[in-house]
């Protein structure tokens, strides 16, 4: 019996060995592929062309084309998914760089080592600008993007082109068209402001000195939730970006503020001291269905939703000091997340996964930015040193950047930084106190 078994077992073992080896080989391929995915795509930007409008007055189309081109390059660079090759200063022997890329130009660009080529033509049309945007795969010269876009703001056209390139070549959504809402707290001009993700187009949305709470985006980026607070009474309003009208969501005595929207738009959660101490309440966007979520005598505030909508992270000092807690969306199963330090607040849950950014404190007592993983250990200190305060983090929708406020240069200004501490960008630079930034969800 055993005699016959042995060959069968050896065959089995040989097959097993083969499979093991092939799996290891597959693992190598997997690693190679993922490494390639995180490598940057080399893209060549052919200088944008411009024409004056037909039959119209001579315009500053040339300037606008240059602006659009530089914005595109900056956006692609900031996305960290592209190596941007600039052909402006390159000597292009015999290559005409003033027209739409043809086969000859594409072949020449391919020789210079790019995988993709982008080019656009800009011209005015009545009171708007038109951008005809093209992108090609250098390998086969195939046009992969051919789009005509029309709008009043040239910057918006360039940002949109960037997002299209990011999406086509990386599969992920770009954030160049996203906005940041924030508060200005200065004697003149208090209120809620809006700006592009690169700090441009700063404009006041809501002029109201009584707004002292962080403004919050709706899930679809069409509304801003904010509070008007006067004489100890709070009114939470939903400001409609498209119409400029405000809609009252909730009123109460005391502080009711900073509503957080779930990703599906069904529920809002905010904090209110209407019953004495600060607790979290849920409400529907139409103002109905008020439900109390926490009833602990301690202060519970600053809610932020998980991307699944199943959990809420928030600040609570029920343990004696303000810390970040996580609970189910219905208010149950609250458990503590942060254990380092005696001051952890202002949680912001990334829409891309289980990272929560928040304001922590360094050993000198200054506010800093930290990130915790919801599962498991691992607290990352994004900013650490410096005798200044970094506060109020908010994630970009692709989870790759954090906008925050810092008084490192005197007044509070809005900055952007990456979780790996690189990519610090300053978005506001004025004599105001610019605080409480919130990044649009799309």
């Amino acid at each position: 019996m055993r005699r016959r078994l042995r060959p069968i077992i050896s065959l089995f073992a040989a097959v097993g060995l083969l499979l093991i080896v092939s799996r290891l080989y597959a693992a190598d391929i997997f690693l190679e592929t993922s490494k390639r995915r995180s490598e940057k795509i080399t893209i060549g930007i052919i200088p944008f062309a411009s024409t004056a409008s037909d039959g119209g007055s001579r315009s500053n189309a040339t300037d606008m084309a240059l602006i659009a081109e530089s914005i595109l390059k900056a956006d692609l660079d900031r996305s960290r998914r592209f190596n941007v090759v600039d052909y402006v200063n390159n000597e292009a022997r015999g290559i005409d760089l003033t027209n739409a890329p043809d086969k000859k130009m594409i072949a020449w660009a391919k020789k210079s080592g790019v995988l993709a080529i982008a080019w656009a033509k800009l011209y005015p049309s009545s009171d708007k600008w038109v951008m005809e945007a093209y992108a090609y795969e250098a390998g086969n010269g195939n046009p992969v993007i051919r789009i005509k876009m029309t709008t009043t703001d040239v910057r918006a056209l360039a940002h949109r082109f960037s997002d299209k390139l990011v999406y086509y070549f990386t599969g992920g959504a770009g954030v160049a068209q996203t906005k940041i809402v924030y508060r200005v707290d200065q004697a003149d001009g208090r209120g809620v402001y809006l700006m592009d993700y690169d700090g441009k187009n700063q404009s006041r949305l809501i002029a109201d000195a009584s707004v002292i709470f962080p403004p919050r985006w709706s899930f679809d980026a069409t509304q801003i939730g904010y509070t008007e607070y006067r004489h100890g009474l709070s009114n939470i309003y939903l400001f409609q970006l498209a119409t400029g009208m405000k809609k009252k969501l909730f009123s109460s005595k005391g502080l009711s503020f900073a509503p957080a929207w779930s990703a599906d738009g069904e529920g809002l959660v905010f904090s209110s001291t209407k019953e004495g101490n600060a607790d979290l309440y849920a409400i529907r966007p139409d103002g109905s269905g008020l439900k109390r979520l926490t009833s602990h005598p301690a202060a519970d505030l600053s809610p932020t939703w998980s991307p699944t909508g199943r959990e809420i992270a928030f600040t609570s000092d029920r343990g004696g000091s303000p810390q970040i807690y996580v609970m189910n969306a219905d208010g149950g199963n609250a458990r503590r997340l942060t254990y380092s330090g005696d001051y952890n607040t202002a949680a912001a849950w990334s829409s891309q996964g289980n990272e929560i950014a928040y304001t922590c404190r360094n050993h000198k007592g200054f506010s800093k930015l930290c990130i915790d993983q919801v599962q498991g250990d691992g607290r990352v200190e994004v900013t650490v040193e410096g005798n200044w305060d970094d506060e109020s983090p908010s994630w970009s929708p692709n989870g790759r950047e954090i906008v925050f406020t810092s008084n490192r240069f005197g007044k509070n200004q809005i900055f952007v930084i990456r979780p790996d501490r690189t990519g610090l960008i300053r978005l506001t630079a004025d004599s105001e106190n610019n605080v409480s930034p919130a990044w649009s969800p799309q």
Binding site: R2, L5, I9, A13, L19, I20, R23, L24, A26, R37, R146, I147, K148, T150, T152, D153, A156, R160, K164, Y167, Y168, G172, G174, G191, L194, D196, N201, S203, L205, I206, A207, D208, A209, S210, I212, F213, P214, A221, R230, H231, G232, Y237, G244, K246, L255, A258, S271, N277, A299, L301, S302, Y343, T345, A346, T359, S367, D389, E391, S436, Q442
Partner: protein
């Protein structure tokens, strides 16, 4: 002879078992890129160029966020006045003017604390005495915090301070309906110097009486 072959059989079985175990545990996960459809704001007139089929060409006849012939013009600047506040917001008082309003002294708090210091109770009693002796309208108790810490948490902390004072006032005989509790968090500092002395001056309850 028998014993040796039995040993070899066992070895074969052992190795086979190991291989099977490795087989079962060695599966690399396939990762697919998150190819999310971007929710592009449908505010820009987006048209695919003639003769081309790009990824972002609008699907024929309706559907998708970037539809052909969309005429809407986006407006990034919306002038929306939410109305002027009925009363001007209290501006920070000049340093050195003292924190008294209508003979009511400010009360100060310890760092991170909202309870009234026992040493301040006589001050509160003095304030109440004045209020009871003089006719007045609404009493506004403002809670404040120093700048350290986050805005939201300081708003809640400052309100707790104002509420604590409100409690004492009520206990000492003031009509609760005449007291209004207001919080300004760290937003309306009394002073802006970066030292402990100034921080202490900002951790206060301040009074306004009609």
């Amino acid at each position: 002879m028998e014993a040796v072959s039995r040993k070899r059989d066992r070895l074969f079985l052992l190795f086979s078992a190991m291989f099977i175990a490795l087989l079962l545990t060695g599966c690399p996960k396939k990762v697919s890129p998150l190819a999310k459809t971007p929710k592009s704001p449908a505010i820009i007139n987006d048209r695919s160029l003639e003769g081309g089929e790009g990824r972002f060409d609008a699907p024929p006849d309706g559907g998708g966020t970037a539809t052909v012939d969309e005429e809407e013009i986006p407006s990034t600047t919306v002038d929306a006045s939410a109305g002027n506040p009925e009363e001007p917001v209290m501006s920070p008082k000049l340093h050195g003017q003292g924190g008294k309003t209508a003979n009511l002294t400010d009360i100060f708090f310890d760092y991170g604390q909202s309870s009234v210091r026992s040493t301040d109770i006589p001050l509160l009693e003095k304030n109440v005495k004045w209020l009871l002796a003089n006719p007045h309208g609404k009493i506004e108790v403002e809670g404040h915090a120093d700048k350290r810490g986050t805005n939201e948490y300081n708003l809640v902390l400052a309100e707790k301070r104002a509420r604590a004072v409100h409690e004492y006032f009520v206990q000492l005989g003031i009509d609760s309906s005449k007291i209004l509790v207001v919080s300004f968090g760290e937003e309306r500092p009394f002073c802006t110097v970066e030292d402990e002395a100034c921080f202490q001056e900002n951790r206060r309850a301040h009074f306004n009486v009609e």
